[in-house]
């Protein structure tokens, strides 16, 4: 769901940079590798056999030209052929596959929340921690049905020209139109949205879950006319660039890109940022069997995760990556100690239970 929206967005960022010549092929390959994206792109439906790993994600943007350029080197390094299916690992698709006994994917990049939903539905294998090194990631990133390979944050970004150089200090300022006049933007997908509204309303981080939906809606209601809802990462950059909004809840990766474009104008704060974790899941009866866990384990490697941060901005799930970072890397990384000081973590268990209902309530609320 939202985590999948993010994964798709991360691949788009890398592709744009590659097209503009800002990164070379090698780095692009390594970065995609961190996402599980580097590999032969096979057009159409991937057909799996035991000698290859089929990874499903949302990165269909890359063409099969990449197959020749990136597929071979990756195979040489890992000894395994990895095939990407960009069809998108929607929970419904995985369900249809597992129930019909025609599983073609070995690993899916669907996020922690999806991994729980799938686990509950008995649709995915347990992560085999005999092969995947659990000690590489913090405890809450190594779930029963999903293990995280990167993280990202929802942050408060702002147009410093519009705020006359005054920096907001937290989500409360999102609602302070007297101090910061102008339109706002927030996401149409529910994850990480009501959390910031409730924090702005004075709810302590420890008391966020279960989310008090009515309270959040009440707080948000008077602001609705001033909010433009975004649905994809590129759109958030567009809204800021065009001066359409002065402040917004956007992904830190996009805030970083805006800042790089116009450093004095577009900034963001790490105060009260909301951290989400991605996760690999393994559909039940996956064709490559246990071999897939070797692939998953390889994506936890700090060196690869560092390149992922440098190219796409995705934060590492492996804390050892922190030691490899330059001060510049650390500044834009959500897991750096200073940046994480007032951070809250999205509660995957809560979303696995309530997201469908919440998302529909939220859509109904913002459109009425």
């Amino acid at each position: 769901m939202t985590s999948s929206h993010f994964a798709k967005d991360a691949a788009e960022i890398a592709l744009e940079k590659f097209n503009r010549g800002e990164i070379d092929r090698r780095s692009f390959l390594i970065a995609l590798g961190g996402l599980g994206l580097a590999a032969a792109f096979k057009p159409g439906v991937a057909r799996a056999d035991a000698s290859e790993i089929v990874v499903c994600n949302w990165g269909g943007a890359a063409a099969d030209a990449f197959a020749k350029a990136y597929g071979d080197p990756f195979t040489k390094k890992s000894g395994m052929k990895v095939v990407i299916d960009g069809a998108g690992p929607a929970v419904g698709t995985i369900r249809a596959m597992v129930e019909s006994g025609k599983v073609i994917w070995d690993a899916t990049d669907g996020g922690m929340i999806d991994s729980l939903t799938l686990g509950k539905g008995n649709l995915v294998e347990k992560i085999d921690y005999a092969i995947v090194d659990k000690s590489q990631v913090p405890e809450n990133f190594a779930g029963e049905f999903g293990v995280s390979n990167y993280v990202y944050s929802n942050v408060l970004a702002y147009d410093a020209d519009a705020t006359k150089g005054v920096a907001p200090t937290g989500w409360a300022d999102f609602f302070d139109t007297a101090k910061f006049p102008g339109k706002r933007t927030m996401c149409k997908w529910i994850q990480g949205q009501l959390e910031f509204v409730l924090m702005a309303d004075g709810v302590a981080p420890a008391d966020l879950y279960p989310l008090d939906v009515d309270r959040a809606f009440k707080k948000l209601k008077p602001m609705l006319a001033d909010i433009i809802f975004w649905e994809g990462g590129a759109q958030t950059q567009q809204l800021f660039r065009e001066g359409e909004v002065v402040m917004g809840n956007i992904w830190h990766t996009r805030a970083n890109l805006l800042n790089k474009e116009t450093p004095d104008k577009f900034k963001w704060i790490w105060e009260q940022n909301i951290l989400s974790a991605s996760a690999w899941s393994v559909p039940k009866g996956n064709p490559a069997g246990k071999k897939v866990f070797e692939f998953i384990n390889s994506t936890l490697d700090p060196a690869g995760q560092l390149v992922l941060l440098q190219i796409m901005g995705n934060g590492p799930s492996n804390p050892k990556t922190l030691a490899l970072m330059t001060p510049e890397d650390a500044k834009v990384n959500p897991t750096t100690k200073e940046n994480a000081a007032s951070q809250i973590m999205l509660n995957p268990a809560y979303y696995a239970e309530h997201e469908t209902e919440l998302q529909n309530k939220y859509l109904d609320f913002i459109s009425s």
């Binding site: 609705l224 433009i228 859509l363």
Partner: protein, 280 residues
């Protein structure tokens, strides 16, 4: 002759098979899912009527579609009426200009409207430079922007439908009216308009039915605030996995459109649009 007919009929078989395979079969699958997901029965349809949120989405859709239809048909009638009164050369140029938007993708058109209507867009900047307004108007990311985008999308269709109808009207009737002393306004209201009712009816039906299923334009120009049926269905399929809701709503939409088309086709005006073409 019979042989020719048989051959002609046979030639349509591949296309028909393809239409059935690629169009009818998936629709039937959607219908089947709406009755079986998660359990067999009509529960999903009952749920649909009990769901207040779906009600609001339907209301928004109807509201936007009616507005789009009225504005489109009105504006298109004016354009089509002007075109049939042009000289052959101007008519060719005008029809070409009407057709140009057809070749531009709906996505590009939506983004173009954002460029024109946004706060620092072409329109707002011009108005502010001229001193007409002091703060930018909210022209996009709301109902207004969606309606503009949809009317723009639908106008070429409506213009062509109306143009076909209007150019079929026998001009000698107007000459007769004039010779009997009717003034131009009378000729329009009492001759042109009644004779063009079939075209208006057809364009209205077409634009309305088409508008009910708009996806990209409201999603981009409405930015979450104008939630129409098609987008709602798409969210239920891809984001929330509520296939029960998505499939039953799709089936209902299809049914309602079917009923509207069926009922409309029984009206004299529309039957005339298809049958009574004056011979020239």
């Amino acid at each position: 002759m019979r042989n020719f007919k048989t051959t002609a009929l046979l030639l349509t078989v591949p296309a028909s098979l393809m239409a059935i395979g690629l169009y009818a079969a998936p629709i039937l699958q959607v219908l089947a899912l709406s009755l079986t997901e998660p359990k067999f029965g009509l529960a999903n349809y009952q749920g649909l009527f009990a769901n207040a949120a779906v009600g609001r989405v339907v209301m928004t859709t109807v509201k936007v579609s009616v507005m789009t239809t009225v504005l489109t048909v009105l504006a298109s009638y004016i354009v089509a009426f002007a075109i049939i009164h042009m000289s052959a050369g101007w008519r060719r140029i005008s029809l070409f200009l009407v057709l140009v938007p057809f070749w531009i993708s709906v996505l590009v058109r939506a983004f173009s409207w954002i460029t024109i209507l946004r706060r620092r867009g072409v329109l707002n900047s011009t108005l502010m430079d001229m001193g007409v307004i002091s703060t930018p108007l909210d022209l996009v990311y709301n109902l207004f922007g969606v309606t503009v985008g949809m009317v723009h999308y639908m106008m070429p269709f409506a213009i062509l439908l109306l143009y076909a109808n209007l150019s079929d009207i026998d001009r000698r009737i107007m000459q007769a009216a004039r010779s009997l002393g009717a003034r131009p306004a009378t000729i329009f209201w009492r001759v042109w308009l009644p004779l063009s009712l079939p075209g208006i009816a057809l364009a209205t039906l077409f634009v309305f039915v088409f508008s009910l299923g708009f996806l990209v334009t409201p999603a981009l120009l409405g930015a979450g605030k104008t939630l129409m049926i098609a987008e709602y269905i798409s969210v239920q399929i891809s984001s929330t996995s509520r296939w029960d809701l998505a499939t039953s709503l799709s089936t209902m939409l299809l049914l309602v459109v079917g009923v509207i088309v069926f009922a409309a086709m029984r009206s004299p005006a529309l039957r005339a649009a298809f049958v009574a073409r004056p011979q020239q």
